[in-house]
């Protein structure tokens, strides 16, 4: 018994080390959305190319897809743009844009320069919808299901790793859901 006590500090150390080591490499900035499994909040905002057209959450229903928060001032958005273009054309993923706190003319110019793989863009000039979605900055990408419920929030750029590791399997599962 006395001898066992001697090993107690070592035991505690090993347990702590295992706990801490296991969490090493996790992204400390990872933040799950507070809106998981909730429907996309209400909005009525114009479309980027056709300001007369007003968009509402209904326009996002019917098919699981991606809502990508972007802006022309956001450099990382430019980095992920070719990959988003690729998954939209190769896999036919429904891709929607949330043009976040952006000058409309600048945003249109940006799309003319780099291409526009999005089905439409919601113009959130003030960032109000962004706040309702819990957006902290751009880029962010939301995955929603056919009922328009938010199922995943990804912060930062979407690349091959994020796509094949997280987004693609999730979209496949969501397509199978009724």
């Amino acid at each position: 018994m006395q001898r066992l006590k001697l090993f107690l500090p070592l035991l505690i150390f090993v347990l702590l080390a295992a706990l801490l080591f296991g969490r090493l490499g996790e992204n400390p900035e990872y933040l799950p959305s507070a809106l998981i499994d909730r429907t996309i909040p209400d909005f009525e905002l114009p479309e980027l190319h056709d300001s007369a057209k007003m968009l509402t959450p209904k326009d996002l229903r019917g098919e699981p897809g991606l809502l990508n928060v972007w802006a022309s001032w956001c450099f990382a958005c430019r980095v992920e743009h070719p990959f988003l273009t690729k998954i939209a054309s190769e896999y036919g993923v429904p891709l929607y844009g949330l043009n976040y706190k952006n000058d409309i003319v600048e945003a249109q110019k940006w799309l003319r320069e780099f291409g526009d793989p999005y089905r439409f863009h919601i113009v959130d000039r003030s960032g109000r919808l962004g706040i309702d979605l819990g957006v902290a900055g751009a880029p962010e990408t939301f995955v929603f299901d056919r009922k328009g419920r938010i199922r995943l929030r990804h912060i930062g750029i979407v690349d091959d790793k994020v796509w094949s590791g997280t987004l693609q399997p999730l979209l496949q599962r969501l397509r199978a859901e009724q």
């Binding site: 400390p28 933040l31 507070a34 809106l35 003030s126 706040i131 819990g134 902290a136 900055g137």
Partner: protein, 180 residues
């Protein structure tokens, strides 16, 4: 030389005081930059309170008040709107939490997921106290185990004092000899 050191010390501390004063006034002005018109002082105080306890969602270690991130500016504006629209404290917290989760609160709520965070320090403190008390008890018990009666203890004490005095007088003797 002494005067020179004193003078430079005074100069340095005076400089530090000026730097500190600068810092203080900088902090004051940063919290004074509020482009909002509040109807009452109570509203201003509520705004100041919430911009301190709410965290910037983009930065790990800054509150809304101290952050220059775009989202913090937007949330400060939103906070102003909520206060102007007479939201209660709980409604403001709920508004922020339903969008940004518990992360938005600097102080984590007490629930199942945070119980370890809140209660481990208290448990460790109690454990430490228990260990300390048991150690002290054991040592006291060991002293008792020597098993001498009070008379015998007195005798031991007397003996020790005697030795001490003896050594003292030997020293005095030695001193006297060496002086002579």
């Amino acid at each position: 030389m002494k005067q020179f050191i004193c003078a430079s010390l005074i100069a340095v501390s005076a400089m530090m005081a000026v730097v500190q004063a600068d810092k203080v006034s900088a902090q004051d002005s940063s919290s004074a930059i509020m482009p909002f018109d509040f109807r009452t002082d109570a509203e201003r105080l509520r705004y100041q309170h919430f911009s301190k306890v709410l965290r910037c969602p983009m930065c790990q270690n800054q509150n809304l008040n101290g952050s220059n991130a775009g989202i913090s500016t937007d949330l400060r504006r939103e906070l102003y709107r909520l206060i102007s629209e007479d939201y209660t404290d709980q409604q403001i917290i709920d508004f922020m939490k339903s969008r940004y989760g518990n992360f938005i609160l600097y102080e984590p709520p007490i629930n199942k997921a945070t119980s370890v965070l809140w209660f481990t320090p208290i448990l460790l403190l109690l454990l430490g106290l228990v260990i300390l008390v048991s150690m002290v008890r054991r040592q006291t018990a060991e002293i008792d185990e020597v098993g001498l009666s009070t008379d015998e203890l007195d005798a031991v004490r007397q003996e020790l004092l005697g030795v001490h005095h003896g050594a003292g007088s030997a020293q005095a003797e030695h001193d006297k000899l060496s002086r002579e």
